[in-house]
């Protein structure tokens, strides 16, 4: 069966439960997620060729790179959509192997995929509660609690500056910006440990983008770790603590935001600035 929970194997001896110790202490605190030597190919295309990356708990980490660098593939490996070919993923120090996104979800990981992952013909409220449905009754007689879900959908959306007049309307009727906000609100609402956002503000206006950045700040305050993929350097400098740069499927550099500039990051992305792999 594909629903076996994430198998926790390997060494977990030295995994102190140090989590809420602030952002700047990332070097001493054990990472929430540690990826080493991750590889993934699609036929002849080597999308990931040995990625190393650490996500410090409670921090916002930016993942940068040109189109085709492998950012989305990394996200999909990290959330259990693709099994990796080689390399390992550790979550809170323990090696995990996600067989399906459900395994990642059960560890409190939620994702805004670049493709958003919404079901167009289902209403907004049902998308917000997808695989987190509220039910009433018990055992095999559990029935969807539509009333509660519809009522609370507005609350979930209200964290973002998004105008969805009717949560009973299908997602098909929503604009690109509204859809993106719905996907972000969903992930932020259910993410307990890690929220991954793959280019979340690409289709958003200035006001909506500001609201998303505010939401990221709020997640950070609530000690939820965030992995943010963005092409907007100003945004990265505003919200992130750390940035990783991917180049052709490899980790090219790691930078602390307070010690870098937008120009340096852009240079690292394009290759104009030499990286320092395995940083």
């Amino acid at each position: 069966m594909t629903d076996t929970p994430a198998r926790m194997t390997g060494t977990s001896s030295a995994a102190p439960a140090a989590t809420q110790s602030g952002a700047s202490a990332s070097q001493v605190v054990s990472p929430l997620v540690e990826i080493t030597g991750l590889r993934k190919s699609f036929g002849a295309v080597q999308a990931l060729q040995g990625v190393d990356l650490k996500l410090a708990p409670g921090e916002v980490t930016a993942l940068l790179g040109d189109n085709g660098a492998g950012k989305s593939t990394l996200v999909r490996c990290l959330t259990g959509v693709h099994p990796q070919d080689a390399g390992e993923i550790r979550f809170r120090g323990e090696q995990v192997r996600f067989h399906s996104p459900d395994d990642a979800r059960q560890l409190g990981i939620e994702t805004v995929y670049q493709t958003l992952g919404l079901i167009e013909d289902l209403p907004v409220w049902q998308n917000l509660y997808l695989n987190h449905e509220l039910t009433s009754g018990f055992g095999p007689f559990r029935v969807l609690d539509k009333k509660s879900m519809i009522a609370q959908s507005s609350d979930i959306l209200s964290r973002l500056d998004v105008n969805v007049p009717n949560v009973r309307a299908t997602v098909r009727r929503m604009s690109g910006g509204q859809r993106q906000c719905i996907a972000i609100a969903r992930a932020a609402n259910w993410g307990r440990t890690l929220v991954i956002m793959d280019e979340p503000t690409a289709a958003l206006g200035v006001r909506e983008t500001a609201a998303v950045e505010e939401l990221i700040a709020r997640l950070r305050e609530a000690s939820v770790t965030v992995l943010l993929i963005s092409h907007d350097m100003a945004q990265v400098l505003r919200v992130a603590d750390t940035a990783y740069v991917l180049r052709r499927g490899q980790t090219a550099a790691r930078r602390t935001i307070s010690a870098t500039t937008g120009d340096e990051l852009v240079g690292l992305i394009t290759g104009a600035v030499q990286g320092d792999a395995h940083a």
Partner: protein
């Protein structure tokens, strides 16, 4: 059954889209009107009563097909799964295993075909069309082997009573078909599994991405369709008094046609139980009216096929 449509604009909307959405009820009305004008025998209590009994078998099949279509699949094996389940019922009954056991075995036989379809499609990722086309052939062969090609008579007073009797004017067949339709509607619109069926059909990548076990969900759809074939087979045997291994392949097209007429998308993710019920009634009314008018049997497949093509044409305007 309530759909997930948002409240539209007020007032009558005679757009093509609206016509497409209500194709089945409109068609049903038109067919009733035509046959009512054409023959006094159509709109009589006894004819409508019989029409609904025949429609019950198709309706049960179409409900299974509805679930498969909801997950963007198609079940072609219903054409031979019904005769197969019927043959198992006949074989078990004539072997003296008693009616309860025989009916149970028939349901299991139908379910088994559905489970195999589901495993091949969902687990092995084989194309639904090819898988169910293959099992259509394999299962029809199994049926011929089991029966040596002969009709198996089933003389059961209980089954005969099931086909003829009812509560007052309400026949047992209607009750059964109604219960099946309500169960499917409940499953689709009131349970988590229903949400996952719609999600898997609507956008399988997105459904997988949020952690829905899409393979399990597709398996459930095919298994349900198999079970529906088993139920329909019991009704079929009750109505005809036996299991004919060579009959009723037209039920395959009709079951798909009912779903398409009802406005469900063959691309998945959209289901209308009410529409499918209406579609099944429409097709059965056509066949019934043709028979009453003494129009040659040979025209029936032409008429049914034309209606299906018409529905497919109209569905192009549905978005």
């Amino acid at each position: 059954m309530a759909d997930t449509q948002a409240p539209g604009r007020l007032g009558l909307d005679f757009s093509v889209e609206a016509a497409a959405r209500y194709a089945a009820p409109i068609g049903l009305g038109v067919v009733f009107l035509i046959f009512f004008i054409a023959t006094p025998d159509f709109l009589t209590t006894s004819n409508i009563s019989d029409l609904l009994v025949s429609a019950s078998i198709l309706l049960v099949l179409a409900m299974g097909q509805q679930l498969v279509v909801t997950v963007a699949g198609i079940d072609l094996s219903v054409g031979s799964n019904l005769p197969w389940s019927a043959a198992v019922l006949g074989y078990a009954y004539t072997s003296g295993w008693g009616l309860t056991v025989s009916v149970g075995l028939a349901l299991l036989a139908g379910l088994a075909v559905g489970v195999v379809n589901g495993l091949l499609v969902a687990r092995l990722n084989m194309t639904d069309f090819i898988v169910t086309l293959g099992s259509l052939s394999v299962v029809s062969g199994l049926t011929l082997l089991l029966t040596s090609g002969n009709t198996v008579p089933v003389n059961s007073d209980f089954l005969r009573a099931l086909a003829i009797n009812g509560i007052g004017p309400v026949r047992w067949f209607w009750v059964l078909a109604f219960v099946v339709a309500v169960l499917v509607g409940f499953l689709l619109y009131r349970t988590r599994t229903g949400t996952y069926l719609l999600s898997t059909g609507g956008n399988i990548e997105a459904a997988r991405g949020v952690g829905i076990h899409v393979n399990r969900i597709r398996l459930i759809a095919y298994a349900s369709s198999g079970l529906a074939c088993g139920v329909a087979a019991v009704l079929f045997v009750a109505r005809t008094g036996g299991a004919d291994p060579s009959l009723q392949t037209d039920l395959l097209l009709s079951s798909i046609a009912a779903v398409v007429l009802g406005g469900s998308s063959l691309f998945g993710g959209k289901a209308s139980v009410f529409g499918t019920v209406t579609g099944a009634l429409l097709l059965q009314s056509l066949i019934n009216g043709f028979t009453l008018l003494g129009i040659s049997q040979y025209y029936q497949p032409i008429a049914v096929g034309t209606v299906v093509l018409g529905a497919a044409f109209i569905s192009r305007f549905q978005k």
